[in-house]
């Protein structure tokens, strides 16, 4: 693994906005045709925090991420991202805002007509003000971050599902976004590959201090995230001591029938008396 390519945010920006939450959902509702998917959802994501979102299939997890990205608009309620209200934002401003956000789609959504290099560099190529040598350097950096330098000239169709996820992560982090949205990055993968991906996400959280929403089906992944920290010396994640766990900026959000039935940290989740939650986490 190469040197961590992601430099921490410049302190000035971090301090300036340290207090304001990165994402705020205020009483957001959304229905597809007649089917109510989200019914008055409110939550906040604090800066530097990672929030794991759970729920059964079809409970609206991906929908929350798409709302936060402004890809769909709520029927009612408001969505604030990075301090601005995006509920009725026009397309042009949305495109500008999205450049500060990285998203890893559930099915990776790599551009299949482009090589891995072009996929990963997409953002920088679009922005146009980065020299080719710099782009190449950056692409190699993020690809080494996900340990896939060798695939640089391949097409997405030549990669396995797990490799595609990692390329998608590389594509999302290339311009050091302030906010990352991961949609089931470990879904349908074997435990070894899942662990690799969770480690990458922990690394991103602890090294770059990026705020993120992390959708997953696997509670285990989220617990790993809550109990492990990234060790820069060994370049691997290490279990944290119980006291250190308290400080991990990690919390959990559980969706059911369009409502949030749990929103809190790992400790509270373990203590919860709610039957559905108990069943879910057992």
């Amino acid at each position: 693994m190469g040197a961590p390519p992601i430099v921490a945010e410049e302190p000035s920006r971090a301090i300036q906005d340290a207090a304001s939450p990165v994402i705020v959902f205020e009483d957001v509702s959304l229905a597809f045709d007649d089917k109510v998917v989200l019914d008055g959802i409110s939550f906040q994501l604090e800066r530097g925090e990672t929030k794991a979102i759970f729920g059964v299939a079809g409970s609206g997890k991906s929908t929350i991420l798409k709302l936060a990205m402004g890809l769909i608009r709520p029927d009612s309620g408001r969505v604030h991202v990075l301090g601005v209200d995006i509920t009725n934002m026009n397309q042009k401003d949305l495109f500008a805002l999205r450049r500060k956000i990285g998203m890893v789609f559930q099915e990776s959504a790599l551009f299949d007509s482009l090589t891995v290099r072009e996929n990963v560099a997409f953002r920088l190529l679009e922005e146009g003000d980065v020299s080719e040598a710099d782009i190449e350097k950056r692409v190699l950096e993020v690809l080494s971050f996900v340990e896939l330098e060798k695939t640089i000239d391949m097409f997405p169709s030549e990669l396995s599902g797990g490799m595609r996820r990692r390329v998608a992560i590389a594509r999302a982090i290339i311009n050091e976004p302030e906010l990352l949205l991961y949609d089931s990055p470990t879904g349908g993968l074997d435990p070894v590959t899942s662990t690799t991906i969770v480690e990458l996400i922990i690394k991103q959280r602890d090294v770059a201090k990026t705020s993120s929403l992390f959708v997953t089906h696997r509670l285990q992944d989220a617990f790993t995230m809550a109990t492990y920290g990234f060790d820069r010396k060994t370049n691997h994640m290490q279990p944290l001591s119980p006291s250190a766990r308290e400080t991990v900026p990690m919390c959990f959000l559980l969706l059911r029938d369009g409502k949030i039935i749990f929103n809190g940290d790992a400790h509270e989740l373990a203590q919860s008396k709610d039957e559905y939650i108990r069943e879910y986490i057992s």
Binding site: F32, M103, Q106
Partner: protein
């Protein structure tokens, strides 16, 4: 699709319908069980709802068509993509356009020779082929060929990108897919169709000349000079304005159906078919209107 999805790049929400129907059919394996559900759905769609859907579709199409042009006037303009598409559309369509133009000219000459001979005015054949090719057959046939080849290509390419969330991913990466994908296709189709039509016209005339000289024994020099002389400004103008309009129709219709594809691979297939049908029918219909309009403008011959 309803009000929320009124802009063509908003993700639509009709995906479930076709999938459930399909699942249902597969799991029950019974047409009888499947059929009542299908009819039920048909009945549920009231005429006013149907009308509303149509109006929304027209509105979405107009937004896409309008923006595809408006995008040209704001940064960034994707000239690389325009060139790439021009190569794909123009160079790729050249063989079919050339062949169809050539043989249309041949057939036109053969057919008119028959009639003209009866009236003893075989020498008019050059005029007939020339006006016929340049004002009508060249533009329309080239348009239909390119529609068959490229409207389907655009619809299936963009449609697959929609259903695999690549379009959403592009928007998430801060790039407007209308700008990056639709505008280059529209620009290069309009541009290339113009030249393809000219090539088709010329080859049609050449086909006519082959028939006239080799089979009917006319003088080649005379054929070309009368073919050239008969063309008035209005004919050339009509013949060259049409490909611009048809090119715009082909690309916007192809992209519209692609961008509004829903419901997995099946939906992409449907979008592709619909795109070709809609583009071809629109070309023929718009051709009639444009012809009539230009006649009104220039007056009758």
């Amino acid at each position: 699709m309803e009000r929320r999805a009124s802009s063509p790049d908003m993700t639509g929400r009709n995906a479930r319908l076709s999938i459930t129907k399909q699942d249902f059919e597969l799991t029950t394996g019974g047409f009888l069980l499947y059929f009542p559900q299908a009819t039920l759905e048909m009945e549920l769609k009231s005429p006013s709802e149907f009308a509303k859907e149509q109006v929304t579709a027209v509105q979405d199409y107009s937004v896409l068509a309008g923006r595809s042009i408006a995008n040209l006037f704001s940064q960034p303009v994707y000239s690389g993509d325009i060139v790439q598409q021009a190569d794909l559309i123009g160079v790729g369509s050249l063989p079919i356009v050339a062949l169809s133009g050539l043989f249309t000219g041949v057939v036109l000459a053969l057919n008119s020779a028959n009639t003209l001979q009866r009236f003893g005015s075989l020498s008019l054949i050059a005029q007939l082929v020339s006006v016929g090719m340049v004002t009508e057959l060249g533009p329309v046939l080239t348009g239909l060929m390119v529609a068959g080849r490229n409207a389907s290509g655009m619809a299936s390419e963009l449609g697959s990108m929609v259903v695999t969330e690549q379009i959403d991913a592009m928007r998430a990466l801060g790039t407007d897919p209308l700008k990056k994908l639709v505008t280059p296709r529209v620009v290069s189709t309009v541009f290339m169709l113009f030249f393809l039509t000219i090539i088709s016209d010329l080859l049609g005339l050449f086909g006519g000349s082959v028939v006239s000289t080799l089979m009917l024994g006319l003088d080649a020099h005379q054929y070309w000079s009368s073919a050239w002389q008969v063309l008035a400004f209005r004919d050339v103008f009509t013949g060259l304005i049409k490909p611009l309009i048809f090119g715009f129709i082909i690309a916007t219709v192809g992209c519209y159906y692609g961008m509004s594809a829903r419901g997995g691979t099946q939906g992409v297939g449907r979008a592709t078919t619909q795109a070709v049908v809609a583009a071809s029918v629109s070309i023929v219909m718009v051709d009639a209107f444009v012809t009539k309009l230009l006649m009104a403008v220039f007056g009758n011959r």
